[in-house]
């Protein structure tokens, strides 16, 4: 926790491309100020690798502000690293000790094929959203702000579920590589809002079907996803997703064939 320069040893998963063999390479990051973010530390290591003429470590990021959901590294066995409720881009080197060994791995899941090094392909999440994570509304000029009354508590709860940034840490942390927390957050967020009622039943069916089709595992309610989630998305949404799906199956008037994707 000191305000100083530290040296750390990195063991980084290197893989040249999809379906290529991968393995760990060791790098020494020297004179790293503890005010640096974890990704800035990797930038320093990469500068060094580029200077030496070696391929830099590929890792994903965009905002580096903890809001976009693009970054993601399993640091010492924990998705997004040791600090709770923090994306790896917002993790700082003061969380590490001088001389510490740090293992860096990509999200590992059948549904997230490795693209290169620490970068994985999360388009499975996009397809889950495309399957039902939308609402049908009349577009055009903005409607009157209070035209559709929504109770404060309902809006707050929907907002809690909507806090999900789609980073995929829940899948990475889950012992079964299940995408339940992500899918549940998205289904719950829309099912709570009046705007989400029109497609409610189909949404649950289609998004769950897509989640399964992507090859993610099934939930065993261990809670690893919730513990790893940088946005504190709660396990309660998984229960809600399950309820939504059962209700959709029992009550829905939609003919059976539209159900099969």
């Amino acid at each position: 926790m000191a305000d100083e320069l530290i040296n750390v040893t990195l063991h980084v998963w290197r893989q040249r491309g999809p379906n290529r063999p991968g393995g760990f390479e060791t790098y020494h990051a020297k004179d790293i100020t503890t005010h640096m973010s974890f990704l800035e530390m990797l930038d320093v290591v990469n500068e060094d690798l580029i200077e030496k003429g070696t391929e830099p470590i590929a890792f994903d990021y965009d905002c580096r502000e903890g809001i976009c959901g693009t970054c993601g590294i399993v640091v010492n066995g924990v998705a997004h690293g040791p600090q709770k409720l923090t994306t790896v881009c917002q993790l700082h080197m003061r969380q590490f000790e001088d001389g510490q060994e740090i293992w860096l791995e990509p999200w590992r899941a059948q549904g997230f094929p490795i693209v290169k090094d620490l970068i994985v392909d999360r388009s499975g999440f996009d397809r889950i959203i495309q399957a039902g994570g939308y609402i049908s509304i009349r577009t055009g000029s903005a409607s009157e702000a209070n035209e559709m009354p929504i109770a404060k508590e309902v809006a707050d709860r929907a907002m809690d579920a909507a806090a999900c940034i789609g980073c995929g840490a829940c899948v990475a942390a889950c012992p079964n590589a299940s995408a339940s927390l992500f899918t549940a957050a998205k289904i719950s967020h829309l099912s709570l809002m009046p705007q989400g009622q029109a497609e409610r039943a189909d949404r649950a069916r289609r998004m769950v079907a897509q989640m399964d089709a992507e090859g993610f595992g099934a939930c065993t309610n261990h809670g690893e996803c919730e513990a790893a989630c940088p946005k504190g998305v709660s396990l309660e949404w998984i229960a809600r997703m399950n309820r939504e799906l059962v209700r959709a199956m029992v009550k829905s008037e939609t003919p059976a064939r539209t159900r099969n994707r």
């Binding site: 998963w13 791995e105 899941a109 939930c219 809670g223 229960a239 829905s252």
Partner: protein, 215 residues
């Protein structure tokens, strides 16, 4: 039926089936334990209770068939999900640290099969091939006077306690029974039921070994 089948095709539906079938089995386990308490009232009480049950074949066979279905559905779904979950990881982590998983949750796929073995042994010993048909009390006491058999029952019921501790909590989640006001009670209920069942069930072999219950 179409809808039920479609639901079962999803991972969520399979967990709902595991939760409901697990719930049926837990219900039986509770009833079975309460009936066995007759052991403490002596041979007449226990044998009388058994005779009474067997004079109601509809109840006995209805329960057996229901349980057979429940076990089939529970184990079948567990197997299918297990296959899926094993392959869902893709590649292995070198390092992986659990942040939230407790011992009971981590060992579900061990305690489950242990329970199956325990169940088969238990049925063979007391139901299918009893040493003294009709004298339930003597069968039980003679069996538990053997420390090896008692130890096996202790281990089996420890596995049972762990399995239903995570199972009861997990089942609430699987069927979507949650409400912010009552959520903390789900763990409490899981602790209460698994503690009463485990302590209660292990008290039988312990009482026999300690000489509190004798022939």
């Amino acid at each position: 039926m179409q809808r039920a089948l479609t639901l079962y095709q999803t991972t969520v539906g399979k967990k709902v089936v595991m939760a409901l079938s697990g719930g049926i089995i837990v219900g039986f386990v509770v009833g079975h334990f309460l009936g066995n308490l007759n052991l403490y009232l002596g041979p007449e009480a226990l044998n009388g209770y058994a005779a009474k049950l067997h004079s109601l074949p509809a109840l006995v066979w209805g329960t057996r068939i229901l349980l057979l279905f429940a076990f089939g559905a529970h184990i079948g779904s567990a197997y299918q999900l297990w296959r899926r979950n094993v392959s869902a990881r893709g590649s292995r982590y070198k390092r992986r640290k659990d942040l939230a998983t407790d011992y009971a949750a981590r060992t579900m796929y061990w305690t489950g099969p242990i329970l199956l073995l325990y169940l088969i042994y238990h049925l063979l010993e007391f139901t299918i091939l009893p040493a003294h048909p009709g004298d339930v009390y003597r069968n039980v006491v003679e069996a538990f006077q053997n420390p090896w058999i008692s130890a096996f029952y202790l281990a089996g019921n420890l596995a049972l306690g762990l399995h239903i501790f995570h199972g009861i909590f997990s089942a609430f989640q699987s069927i979507g029974a949650n409400h912010p006001r009552y959520n903390s009670y789900r763990r409490d209920l899981a602790i209460a039921i698994s503690a009463v069942i485990t302590l209660g069930n292990v008290s039988f072999p312990i009482s026999v070994l300690a000489g509190i219950v004798t022939l």
